[in-house]
């Protein structure tokens, strides 16, 4: 069972109240209890999974830490008597020990993730391979439960494990504190993927009630719900109608799907993260930002620095960098330089690492081929623009207008269109359908549907479209206001009555215009005959 909206809000309200009336020392234990209660209510059968990850990673980290501690103690004690050579041998030996435990724990946890999330994906691929070789025997699918938030907490745990292995953070001694880091419920379901180094700064310390901080946190929660309930959930109706029937909704509809889905995804995901970060903020806990107004990006590369930041930086720090500077990759560099010459040879390993990262990013999003293709499509676009970079530069240097605002706007819109197109891979499981729908947009004969009222048959009324338009404009305005710093600070400086009107107005808009509740359309409260 998942929480309903009311239950979740009630849960948070009670928690927040308790959080500030109990002794400060008990605050983080309360959060741990709340997080496990949350997880328990979501599904008791998931508990062993998160507990296993928590314990194995905790113990391995402690073990690695004690090896590291002993190593530096030994080196310190024998500083004078050891030669440089001996020191190196000793260090290598310790490193191998650490590495052994590290790899064991990593494989175990990745193994759990792979099994519950990807087992059926592997099986279906093996089966299609078997059938294409003419085999009549196929493997049967396994019935797997996918624990809530497993991708997020596994990645968060692995990040911590790597940090401890590298020595950039010290292993947490208190198993309960560590368990809270893994299970902190606001971010459990959809991130952001936290780093232990950042989160531990505010997660465990006592927090006094600070009305401004709590207010700001709740304000952000409210804003998140606005995006989710008023915009995303409303668009969902039309998007699912269109995606559900690709044989009807193609051609000009492809444009509508891409646009609507992209707006929906943005409102839903950033709204959800606003709720998460705002809730944590209300409890004095700082989580890392996950978005930096991504649709203002001027290139896809920039977009991926501003969208889902915690995931992208995770892949960068824990996959791209290690792979790129690894010994095998350095070997490939040397080899490819010999074969292709200095300039081209240098880029080949870079692209190879990128491809690995994008493949992983794709499969991280879901266990099916469309996500892998989506990842590789991103990779392709990024690499092409990387190659064209010198050309752009020449072009930009030559023409003055490239520095002007209209040209910047053009680049922003171009990037947005590109993101819209790439998002289409999200919509259909079948890649063939994605391709068909996408290419049907070119030279389609049904462009009249954009104007003849067909859009009113997708489950949205003209009033819904007006609300959506208003909502999108409001999101845009807020994003533009962010240029001048925190919008909440800007509102805070206004006189109280105005501020109150803004907060309460937003609340009323959510209450009245939110797409929530039974059938959400009480205005069509249709009765049958009696």
């Amino acid at each position: 069972m998942l929480f309903t909206l009311y239950e979740f809000l009630g849960f948070c309200a009670v928690l927040l109240l308790l959080y500030y009336i109990i002794p400060k020392k008990a605050q983080w234990p309360l959060l741990l209890i709340a997080s496990y209660a949350f997880y328990f209510i979501a599904g008791p059968q998931f508990l062993p999974f998160i507990a296993a990850t928590t314990l194995t990673v905790y113990l391995t980290a402690r073990l690695m830490q004690s090896i590291a501690d002993k190593q530096s103690a030994y080196l310190k004690a024998h500083k004078e008597e050891l030669s440089k050579e001996e020191k190196k041998i000793f260090k290598d030996k310790q490193k191998r020990k650490k590495l052994f435990w590290f790899v064991l724990c990593l494989l175990l946890n990745l193994g759990i993730l792979a099994t519950v999330k990807y087992a059926n994906f592997f099986i279906s691929n093996i089966n299609s391979a078997l059938t294409s070789f003419g085999s009549k025997n196929v493997l049967s699918f396994v019935n797997m439960i996918v624990p809530l938030g497993i991708s997020f907490y596994t990645f968060q745990s692995i990040g911590y494990l790597i940090d401890v292995y590298r020595g950039t953070v010290k292993a947490e001694k208190n198993v309960f504190k560590y368990a809270l880091f893994v299970s902190f419920f606001p971010q459990l379901v959809q991130g952001p993927i936290g780093r232990y180094g950042d989160m531990s700064e505010t997660l465990y310390i006592p927090h006094n009630f600070d009305s401004k901080q709590v207010g700001f946190g709740l304000e952000r929660v409210l804003w998140g719900y606005f995006k989710k309930v008023v915009i995303a959930d409303r668009l969902f109706v039309a998007v699912s109608t269109m995606i559900g029937d690709p044989s009807t909704y193609n051609g000009a509809y492809a444009i509508v799907i891409m646009l609507f889905y992209t707006v929906q995804l943005y409102a839903d995901f950033t709204g959800g993260i606003d709720i998460t970060i705002g809730l944590a903020e209300a409890m004095g806990i700082r989580l890392s930002e996950n978005f930096d107004r991504p649709y203002f990006s001027k290139s896809l590369k920039e977009y991926w620095r501003r969208w889902h930041i915690s995931m992208c930086s995770w892949f960068r720090d824990y996959l791209f960098y290690p792979v790129s500077v690894s010994k095998p990759m350095q070997g490939i560099t040397k080899f490819s330089k010999k074969v292709f010459g200095d300039k081209v040879g240098k880029r080949i390993p870079l692209y190879l690492s990128s491809a690995i990262v994008w493949f992983s990013t794709g499969i991280w999003h879901g266990a099916s081929w469309n996500f892998i293709v989506w990842g590789m499509a991103n990779f392709a676009v990024l690499m092409i623009s990387e190659e064209l970079e010198p050309l752009y530069k020449k072009f930009n240097d030559k023409f003055k207008f490239t520095k002007s605002f209209p040209y910047t706007l053009f680049r922003i819109l171009r990037t947005f269109a590109l993101v819209c197109a790439l998002n289409l891979f999200d919509c259909y499981v079948s890649i063939a359908t994605t391709g068909k729908v996408f290419f049907s947009a070119f030279g389609a004969s049904n462009y009249h549907v954009l104007f003849d009222g067909s859009l009113l048959k997708l489950g949205l009324t003209s009033l819904d479209y007006i609300i959506l338009l208003g909502g999108v404009l409001l999101m845009l305005t807020v994003s533009l206001l962010q240029e001048k710093g925190s919008v909440r600070e800007q509102i805070f400086r206004l006189p109280y009555p105005v501020r109150f009107m803004i907060y309460y107005g937003l609340f009323l808009i959510i209450i009245l215009m939110g797409a929530y509740g039974i059938g959400y359309d009480a205005s069509q409260f249709i009765y049958n005959q009696f």
Binding site: I518, A522, S523, F525
Partner: protein, 359 residues
């Protein structure tokens, strides 16, 4: 000190504004059943405006609120009665509406229509009917019981506590009635009776299709037991009836269960579908129904009330109260309204009939 006081004032003023505006919004967003219909949604709330010293309380669905005329019960027998009906009222709602009524008064007889036990209907329960049976109730443990026993899987308790959460999207459909009737109800019933006029004879009413299972549900039995117990505790006589509606089909298998239960608990059960009783009441399905046998028109409802009045007087010990001057005065107004309503409805009906015939 001063700053703190200012802070508190700010907080209190804001809170008051929020509460007041939200209450007003909720009042304006609630469906105005008593003017826009369906009128059935207005019945439950209408009861609270009555003087509560009734001899007989009916609980049940359209088979009571369209089939028995309390006016005739008074006019001919001096029985002061009220129908607490609502559309598609399930047994558990009947129980809690009765419990709610007993908070205000203790009648001598409670009449319960057993159609509410129909398991087929319980399985097809709809949120809309739940809302119409419950929204009008005043807050009490009975209302909470009604909500908890009625809620369907996708319903939430909070939606009943704050109906604005349920009706929030009605803002786009508001009209002047929503403003005018924010805090008042238009009277739509005659002591819970909804008058219908016109004739559509019952022809070829199909027999019910066989069901895989005729058992009343555990939930239904439980609430029937509770109802029996409640009446016993309060010293009220419980009368079970099955109104003479030809549809929804009343299976003999259903009837057997009720008969058996009534015998076991020494209750009286009157099945108006029974041929002898039907002959006694004089209900004529070619004249007395406005919708081909589902419900009675006013003629039929008066016939049934007349029969029931006689039965209640002779067998349940009800006395004629027409001598109580205050009560009689109240009923005088009610009868006047009733006759006026009847005339108007007949005029409207005749006009419509002429129109359809002309076309």
């Amino acid at each position: 000190m001063k700053a703190a006081a200012k802070k508190w004032i700010k907080f209190i003023v804001s809170a008051v504004i929020v509460v007041v505006t939200l209450s007003l919004l909720q009042a304006i967003l609630m469906p105005k059943y008593s003017v826009d219909g369906p009128f059935e949604g207005a019945f439950v709330a209408e009861y609270y405006g009555e003087t509560k010293d009734h001899d007989v309380i009916f609980v049940g669905d359209c088979e009571v609120y369209e089939n028995f005329s309390p006016i005739v019960l008074w006019r001919d027998y001096g029985i002061n009665s009220y129908i607490r009906g609502s559309a598609d009222q399930y047994i558990y709602q009947s129980y809690y509406l009765l419990e709610d009524t007993l908070r205000y008064e203790t009648p001598k007889v409670v009449v319960f229509n057993v159609q509410a036990l129909d398991p087929k209907r319980e399985a097809e329960a709809k949120e809309a009917y739940n809302r119409m049976s419950i929204d009008g109730m005043k807050w009490s443990p009975s209302k909470i019981g009604a909500i908890n026993s009625s809620m369907l899987e996708d319903e939430q308790f909070l939606d009943y506590v704050f109906p604005i959460l349920r009706y929030h999207s009605r803002w786009s459909k508001l009209d002047k009635d929503d403003l005018a009737y924010m805090f008042k109800l238009e009277k739509v019933s005659h002591n819970g009776y909804l008058m219908k006029v016109g004739v559509k004879p019952a022809e070829n009413v199909p027999e019910g299709r066989p069901l895989p299972n005729y058992e009343f549900t555990e939930k239904a039995w439980k609430h029937l037991d509770m109802m029996v117990e409640l009446c016993e505790k309060k010293g009220i006589k419980l009368l079970l009836i099955k109104a003479p509606s030809l549809y929804p089909y009343w299976y003999p298998e259903y009837d057997e269960q009720v008969v058996e239960y009534a015998e076991k608990h020494e209750l009286t059960y009157i099945n108006f579908l029974d041929e002898t009783i039907q002959a006694e009441t004089g209900v004529d399905y070619t004249k007395d129904t406005y919708d081909m046998g589902l419900h009675m028109n006013v003629e039929g409802a008066e016939k049934l009330a007349s029969w029931l009045g006689k039965y209640l007087t002779e067998n349940m010990g009800l006395t004629d109260r027409r001598g109580e001057s205050e009560l009689a005065a109240r009923w005088l107004d009610k009868i006047e309204l009733y006759e006026k309503d009847k005339t108007e409805k007949y005029e409207k009906y005749e006009k419509e009939k002429e129109n359809t015939e002309a076309n």
